[in-house]
């Protein structure tokens, strides 16, 4: 069992937020943490890894205590038996692929694990290359392999596939599952992608504003999540105009411009460059400021 009980005060762009969680994760399971951006997912992972200090909390991995603020005890990241994969891979640019993995070896550890991992992840042919010459998917495979060299019990994945295209994602999901089983890992995955979570995780924790508001099997949690029942898109107003008594606004969402009709009295409340949220639901299209 992995026990994670943490409290940390966060000062985000949106103001003060209390990250407060209490999780119990069975050994060998694959769980996901999901929820809106800025909800504290990455911070939670960093707290588990020991890269940030909580205000109070307790982390236990099996019988081993990693953190217990009551006894003012905190194991350094170096001593926690976990592997962390960063969103942007964080490979060492000055080392070849093989050296990146060899670097991770503990003192006196058998080097065989390096070639074993390179084989599983199909990296053997890239051994002598430098990270800068690799594609995103290849870099991510190296990052995964490197995180497992020390044979950690716990694998932490911080949106590891978000920068990859769909085909590469699906392939890497299979790699991760393969590693999860063959190395007897307990894996915590932070992800936004519902299909990814449904495919990989047994359980998902929905983290919103620093609190776990829902947890359960992916199918149950996503069925009731607000973002699943109605679609919403955020954008900025580029243009507001009225013609023949009808008002329209142009909203920039990502790289696209979307034209939305709306009542004149609502259009008057909006300004160029103000943030809006477009919501589609069963009752139609709604526009919210902010």
């Amino acid at each position: 069992m992995v026990r994670i009980k943490l409290h940390k005060e966060l000062h985000a762009a949106t103001g003060h937020m209390d990250l407060q969680v209490d999780l119990q994760i069975p050994l060998g399971s694959f769980v996901a943490i999901s929820g809106p951006s800025g909800g504290g997912k990455t911070t939670l992972l960093r707290l588990i890894a020991g890269l940030e200090k909580p205000k109070s909390g307790l982390i236990k991995f099996q019988e081993e205590t990693w953190l217990n603020t009551e006894n003012v005890f905190s194991l350094s990241p170096q001593k926690r038996k976990m592997g962390l994969v960063f969103q942007d891979y964080a490979l060492f640019p000055n080392m070849t692929i093989e050296k990146n993995l060899v670097y991770a070896l503990s003192k006196g550890q058998d080097k065989a694990i390096v070639s074993e991992l390179m084989k599983i992840m199909e990296l053997s042919e890239l051994a002598g290359r430098y990270p800068v010459n690799l594609s995103g998917g290849q870099q991510q495979r190296v990052a995964l392999a490197r995180a497992l060299v020390r044979k950690p019990g716990l694998l932490l994945l911080d949106e590891p596939l978000s920068a990859l295209d769909t085909a590469m994602r699906s392939k890497l999901q299979d790699y991760i599952l393969k590693l999860h089983h063959s190395f007897n890992l307990t894996t915590i995955l932070v992800s936004h992608d519902f299909s990814e979570i449904s495919k990989m995780a047994e359980k998902v924790f929905w983290l919103e504003n620093g609190q776990i508001i829902k947890q359960g099997a992916p199918a149950e949690v996503f069925k009731t999540s607000p973002s699943a029942t109605q679609s919403e898109l955020m954008g900025t107003v580029q243009e507001i105009y009225t013609r023949l008594g009808k008002s329209k606004i142009r909203v920039r969402i990502g790289d696209n411009l979307v034209e939305v009709p709306l009542p004149a009295e609502q259009a008057q409340l909006l300004k160029i460059n103000s943030q809006v949220t477009l919501q589609w639901s069963a009752t139609g299209l709604h526009i919210k400021k902010g």
Binding site: M82, N94, R146, A147
Partner: protein
Amino acid sequence: MNTAFWGTLLLTFKLATVTTVCLLFIGIPIAYLLAYSKRRVKPLFEALVSMPLVLPPTVLGFYLLLAFSPDRNLGEWLFEMFGVSLVFTFPGLVVGSILYSLPFMVQPIQSGFEHLPVQLSEASYTLGKSRWTTLWKVQLPNIKPALLTGLVLSFAHTVGEFGVILMIGGNIPGETRVASIAIYEEVEALNYQMANRYAFVLLAFAFTVLFLVYSINRRVNNIVR
């Protein structure tokens, strides 16, 4: 005349070499602490390190002269403990040059540390590596251009130093007479031909050094992208 010329140049480059090597060992820890410190006193230390950039060299030289004088506490202590006098001697020049060129070593390296993605160090920590190992194997190898810039600028800046040396070194041939001082002396003696030779060597040196730094940094940037 010719031996004096080469002797002076040799002394100049010896001073710059010794100073740069010392600065590398002093500069890296200071740059590391300044780059990663979140303490409130950080600006105080940053200001102290950068002082020589804006301070007239004569001011620094004047205070060093006072501090190192054998009839003062520090100078007296140094002389009794180690038998060294830092006024009008080569070791004194080295100490003065280290203080004077400190920002030229610290600032590029500090900036190198600060621009290095923090995830690299964090990844190293999560792989069980100490801060020391991370510094040697990950951080320093990935800021090589910054290290090179620091080395070259410190060296070149020491070669071009004038005010501090004049204050605490004087003008003793073979001991404290460096090229920049020699130029001044030759001009005073209306010996323009000699001054010209010194000046041209320093000019050519400064250009070559800067050209090398920019070329190497360009190559490194092309590789690392």
